[in-house]
Symmetry: C2
Subunit: 331 residues, 2 copies
Amino acid sequence: MRKLKIAQFGLGPIGLETLNLAATKPWAEIVGAIDFDAAKVGKDLGTLTSIKRLRGLKVCRSLDELLQKAKPQIVFHTTVSRFKLAFEQLEPIARRGLNVVSSCEELIFPQLLQPNSATRLDRLCRANGARIVAAGVNPGFVMDLLPLCMTGICREVRAVHVQRVVDAATRREPLQRKIGSGLPRNEFQRRLKAGQAGHAGLKESLALLAHGLGWKLEGISETGKAVIAQQDIRTQYLHVKKGQTCGLHQRAEARIRGKLRLSLDLKMFLNAPDPHDALQIEGDPPLDMVINGGVAGDQATVAALVNTAPRLLKASPGLLLPTDLLVPRFG
Amino acid sequence: MRKLKIAQFGLGPIGLETLNLAATKPWAEIVGAIDFDAAKVGKDLGTLTSIKRLRGLKVCRSLDELLQKAKPQIVFHTTVSRFKLAFEQLEPIARRGLNVVSSCEELIFPQLLQPNSATRLDRLCRANGARIVAAGVNPGFVMDLLPLCMTGICREVRAVHVQRVVDAATRREPLQRKIGSGLPRNEFQRRLKAGQAGHAGLKESLALLAHGLGWKLEGISETGKAVIAQQDIRTQYLHVKKGQTCGLHQRAEARIRGKLRLSLDLKMFLNAPDPHDALQIEGDPPLDMVINGGVAGDQATVAALVNTAPRLLKASPGLLLPTDLLVPRFG
C-alpha cells in the first residue's frame, strides 16, 4: 500500500491529537507541520507529539517552507473557526492542488456566510485538482450529517429537530472558557450578541441539513444566552461562582411558510445533567433517536478528521460538503 | 432537470410501494414493470398502483419484453432474498448496462456466500457500465450501515453490538408468517435449522460491518430459535395459540482470537415489548445509541430503495456495497 503523505496545519490541542492519531494509521505518513506561533516554529515534531519516528521534522512557519521540504497529499487544517480567516490559509493550499480536511466550523457550509469566497475556493480547487472539506462532531456529525443519514430511510420528512447537551466540566479548558465560564452574566451576553462568543457552526449545520434535504429556507434565526451557575462550580481548570456564567444555550431554527421545520438546540454548560444527543424526525416513518451520554467532542472530532481523509481522496476535486463524500466510517 | 427513467422488477407489496413512492419523486419517470406472475402480466400499472398517469403501461413478463418498449436507467428489483436466485435476474440487466437498486437481502454482501458469482457480476457491471447495489432497513441500515457511520467518529473500535426488537404484530402478513407465527415449535425450529425459515441477510450485515471496518473475520456463527407464545395472540391477520411459535430470535456473532467483536441480535415476534434498535460501540469514544420504537421495516425499506437511486448514479460501475455510495439521505 502506498502511504498518504500527511501534513498538519495548526498545532493546538486538536492539531496535536490529529497528528497523534494519524500517525497510528497504516495508510498515513506524516511529512511535516505548520504553525504561525513563533514559540512552536522550529520545534521538533517528535518532541511536540512524543511520536519517536517524527524526530527530525521541524515545525515550519509557512506553507512555502513546508513545501520546500515535503510534498503532502493531505493537510489536516486545525487553526480557526471562521471561514473568512480560513480562506486565506486554504487558498494557497488549493492553488497547489493539495487536499484538506479542516476543523474550521464555518467551512461545514461556507456558502452560508461567504458564498462568493466559497465559489472562488471551489473554482480554484477544481482548476488545480484540490479537495477541501470540513469534518468534526459538531458541526460535522451529530447535528447535521447523522440526521441526514437517518432521513435516508424516510419516505417523507416534515421536520428535523436535534438537541445536544454537553457537560462542559468534562471537557478541555479552552472549551470551558469558550462557553463563558466565570464571566459576569451581562458580559457574556454582550459578547454573544456581538458575535464575539458562542459556538461556531450551528447555523452552518442547519444550512447543511436544509441543503441535503433540498429545502429552500426563508431564513435562519439563531439565539444565544448565558447559562448562570446556581452554585459555585469548581472544575479541573477553573472556579465559577454562583451567579456567574457557566455555559451557553444556543439555538438555530428555520421555518418554511411559518412552520418550524428545522431546529438545532445546543446546551453546553458546566455540570449539565444528562448529557446526550437526541434527534427527532417528523416524517414517515417518524424517528426518535438518542445517543446516551452524548458524543464526547474532542476525541471524536479528531477521529472524524482523520477518518475523513481516505474518503476525501475518492471524491472529485472541489470545495466539498460532507454529503459529497462516501458513507462515514472508521478507516 | 432530465428525469431518470425507472422500471420496477417485482410487483409484490414492496415492489408496488416502491413504484408508488418513486412516482412522487420529481426526478423519476416510471417507464414500465416486470413480473413473472401470470396473474399480473399484461395488467395495467395505473390500476395496480392507482397512479393515474401510469395508465396504459402494461406489466411485462420479461426484461426483453420491457426493453422493446422502454429504456430504463434504473431498475428497482424486489423479488427474492437469496443472491443465488437474484443472480439470474440481475445478470441480463447488468449485461445491458442498466442500474439496479435491489431489496435482495443477501445482495447486501453477496461476497459472503457466493464470492465467485459476485466477482462475475461485478466484472459484467464494469464491462457494461452497470451499477448494482442492495438497499433496505435490515439488512441495509440499522444493523450495518448506521453502525458503520457511527464508527466514523471513533479513534478506535474494539467491538460493535446491535440489537433489534420488532413487534411483528404491527407488521404486514407476509412478515408475520415468515417468522413462523402459528407453527408448532418443533416445526419452525426444524425449518430454521434447515435454512428454510428465518430472516435473510443477518450474516451479510455482519460481513458488511467487518468489511467496512477492515476486520478479517475468522468466521461467523449464526443461531436461530423460535419464540413461543405465552398466551393466545390475535393479530389483524392471524391467530396464534399459546405454545405455538410467535416469532424468532436470531443472532450472528464474530470473534477474533476468541474475543467477541461483532454481534447482531434480532428479535421479531408478535407483541414483542419495547421495540427498538440499539447500538453499542466499544471504542474511543464509546457510543451508546437507541432508536426508540425502532425503525418500522416496510415503509423505511421502500424509502431506502428509492432514496438510494440518485446516489447510485454518482458511483462508478460495479457490483457495489452500500459503503461505496455517498452518505445516505432523503432524496
